[in-house]
């Protein structure tokens, strides 16, 4: 059977998180200002952060520098921050560093991973723009969050793995045991459903 995507909208509560035991130990090292925290972080999340950085920058040396910047940022921010999810905390820092670097150097590159992601996300933008009713980023995040929570776990993971983590379609298809075509089609339907949802909620993006 070939399944199509189907979307529905339900507002639900946030999921209560519990920190992984291993992550707790790593965070304790930060609070004790023990430099072993960096080694442990790199061992646990080095490959994840490198993957996120490479998906955006496409050049290993640039990605390595971003990952190093991530460890530096984590050291400065923990404490006082005690992340609920070390994965999400570190991933977000890496993502931000990589995007900043890409902004500075994008003129030299074309059709790289970041541009493809932006091109795809263009299809999520509501049809018309009204400068009198601009939606703030926080509200946009909230609307997208509600939409994501109402997806089934497979579609939610697929969307975030593609557009938050930046994973490639082929890699996602391999994990799902299906053709890249099907993944592409599913992502296309998800993007259009997000756009429809944003339009119905009166979201305007400038």
């Amino acid at each position: 059977m070939l399944y199509f995507f189907a979307a529905y909208l339900v507002k639900g509560p946030s999921k209560e998180m519990k920190l992984d035991l291993e992550d707790e130990k790593i965070i304790d090292l930060y609070f004790r200002r023990d430099e072993a925290a960096i080694r442990e972080t790199e061992a646990a999340y080095g490959s994840l952060c490198m993957r996120i950085a490479l998906n955006i920058l496409s050049i290993r040396q640039d990605a390595e520098e971003c990952v190093n910047d991530t460890w530096h940022s984590a050291w400065k921010r923990i404490p006082p921050t005690r992340p609920v999810s070390l994965r999400a905390f570190l991933g977000r820092i890496t993502r931000d560093h990589a995007v900043s670097r890409w902004r500075a150097e994008h003129a030299k590159k074309r059709f790289d991973g970041m541009e493809i992601l932006l091109s795809e996300l263009d299809e999520c933008v509501p049809a018309a723009a009204d400068p009198e009713k601009i939606t703030e980023t926080a509200e946009l995040t909230e609307q997208i969050t509600i939409w994501l929570r109402n997806l089934n776990s497979e579609d939610r993971a697929l969307f975030l793995r593609r557009y938050w983590y930046g994973d490639g379609v082929k890699e996602l298809a391999r994990e799902r045991g299906e053709r890249a075509n099907n993944v592409s089609q599913r992502l296309l339907r998800l993007r259009k459903q997000l756009r429809k949802t944003l339009e119905s909620e009166g979201v305007w993006i400038q």
Partner: protein, 534 residues
């Protein structure tokens, strides 16, 4: 820009969503049946890289040359090879052309770029019940493209003149050229060519499967599109007839029995021969295809949201269903056994042609809110032109790229017409504003086109020190034109709010050079600017 906002919004998502997605283990699927050829059920490992990157040698900007004051001659740079390639390219200002022979008619062209829209003005918006002020400016230029046309013959001449512009139906109508003759508005007929771009695969390659839209990215692409004249010919043709007979099932008037289901969904199942029937839908959210057993399902969900309920059309191209249809309600779009609920609906069956059906839904889309899929502003170009022209854009897209089209694109393989119709609205094509003009023998008339022109831009600002966004505008001197030009000039004004950067025209406002004479042998001119500081 806008997609950048969506990308940034994703950064603020709750950590539990990110954590779950990062640790999620996907259910592995077997490869589905294919519609054509051999059937296979084995899982296939796709070897691929986790990252990819395509590099393209970007062409750097070229410094302009310029005159010493007043009017100058354009610099000797080869604009075509020195122009910068933008991530979002708006297309050049095209020259006027004439249908048929314009022998004996000469034209002198004056093109003015007015950047006064970049000036900051005060706007106000309502937020949380209060009116708040904000600074507003546009990254647009007002282009006035004037042609002094002289009839050097001994008899009056009537020409059909065409003024091209690269636009989409979703754009604001202010971007459409308004033609005037000697200062008075002239009656204009609008034509539109087919989708001007192409498709790329998920890695951005043009030679792979066609999943993503890929617009024309630079001047060279427009040159290739227009220089032969074939595109203009297609623009002036009628819409494809699409006279294939179809059987339409309209599912409507849903009645959902009381339920706690969060997404009541109605599934319509029917038997077909996949080799003889193509299934199209409009208003469906999803479905399934069991090609081995010839069972097709199409569903419509969200039936708990009264404001979003709309009919579902199932359109069978080719043979009708072989055994009628069944309707079954489900708790959600999964339509899984065990999740059945009671939902009833009316089903109207009628026979039509594909073209007639598409015309009908195009008209409905323009007259209503299109089931919330394409809310259209009053000034949207697509709402202000004839429904027949909108239908032509949709019909050409279907005839070319649908699953039964000349060159099917994987993007439309599921037969959901709203995907194709939506793309017809947002994709760039060349519009031609046509006017009949009579030029008395021995006399000169002025034909002017005035329009707002959007800037070409990169998604993020250029790597300038302060990161200000850099915008670009460009002009084609003779591309696609049959006119005989005696001279061409270009000028800029409204520079108070902008800083003119590199340009191949030869403008040098600091030296007083704001008007230049162009070389018609140079096909393409460009300029870059940014908003002035302060």
């Amino acid at each position: 820009m806008k997609s950048e906002r969506v990308y940034e919004a994703l950064s603020g998502l709750p950590e539990d969503l990110i954590e779950d997605a990062g640790t999620h283990v996907f259910r592995r699927r077997t490869i589905p049946w294919t519609r054509f050829g051999a059937v296979a059920a084995a899982a296939v490992l796709i070897l691929g890289l986790g990252t990819w990157g395509l590099t393209r040698s970007g062409k750097g900007p070229v410094s302009s040359g310029g005159g010493t004051g007043g009017m100058g001659d354009s610099g000797g740079n080869d604009g075509a090879s020195g122009a910068y390639t933008y991530m979002s390219y708006a297309g050049p200002v095209f020259p006027l052309t004439a249908l048929g022979s314009s022998e004996g008619i000469t034209a002198e062209r004056h093109t003015e770029f007015d950047f006064s829209p970049y000036e900051t003005s005060q706007g106000a918006r309502e937020q949380d019940g209060e009116e708040t002020a904000y600074d507003h400016y546009e990254t647009e230029t007002i282009v006035t493209d004037r042609y002094l046309m002289t009839n050097e013959g001994e008899a009056d001449r009537t020409l059909t003149l065409l003024y091209p512009a690269a636009l989409s139906l979703s754009k604001d109508a202010k971007l459409l050229p308004a033609l005037s003759l000697d200062g008075a508005p002239v009656s204009t007929t609008l034509y539109a060519g087919p989708y001007a771009g192409g498709f790329v695969d998920m890695e951005g390659k043009r030679d792979g499967e066609r999943w993503n839209l890929a617009g024309l990215r630079d001047w060279e692409a427009y040159k290739a599109l227009l220089e032969s004249g074939g595109y203009q010919t297609k623009a002036l043709e009628d819409a494809p007839a699409l006279e294939e007979p179809v059987t339409v099932y309209k599912v409507d008037n849903y009645v959902v029995a009381p339920t706690d289901a969060v997404n009541p969904t109605l599934l319509m199942s029917f038997s077909i021969d996949y080799a003889r029937t193509t299934v199209l839908t409009y208003g469906s959210n999803g479905g399934s295809d069991d090609m081995e057993n010839g069972i097709c399902g199409r569903d419509v969900g969200g039936l708990h949201r009264e404001w979003a309920i709309h009919p579902m059309y199932v359109i069978l191209l080719g043979d009708d269903t072989t055994g009628g249809y069944e309707l079954q309600g489900y708790r959600n779009g999964g339509c899984e056994p065990g999740d059945e609920i009671e939902i009833t609906a009316t089903v109207e069956r009628y026979e039509s042609t594909l073209g007639a059906f598409l015309r009908r839904i195009v008209t409905e889309q323009l007259e209503t809110d299109n089931f919330g899929m394409l809310p259209l502003e009053e000034t949207t170009l697509g709402t202000l032109i004839s429904p027949e022209l909108v239908y032509k854009c949709v019909a050409e897209m279907f005839a070319s790229y649908s699953s039964t089209g000349e060159t099917p694109a994987e993007r439309y393989r599921n037969g959901m017409l709203e995907d194709l119709m939506g793309d017809s609205f947002v994709t760039t094509r060349i519009f031609y504003a046509a006017a009949e003009v009579t030029i008395p023998a021995g006399e000169t008339v002025e034909l002017a086109a005035r329009m707002v022109k959007e800037a070409s831009f990169d998604y993020f600002g250029m790597g300038t020190e302060k990161g200000y966004a850099t915008n670009g505008y460009d002009l084609a001197t003779v591309l696609g034109s049959t006119l005989q030009f005696t001279a061409q000039y270009a000028s800029v004004r409204g520079l108070e709010a902008v800083e003119l950067l590199e340009n191949s025209f030869g403008f040098d406002p600091a030296a007083g050079v704001t008007e230049v004479r162009l070389d018609p042998a140079q096909e393409h001119y460009w300029l870059k600017l940014r908003r002035a500081e302060g």
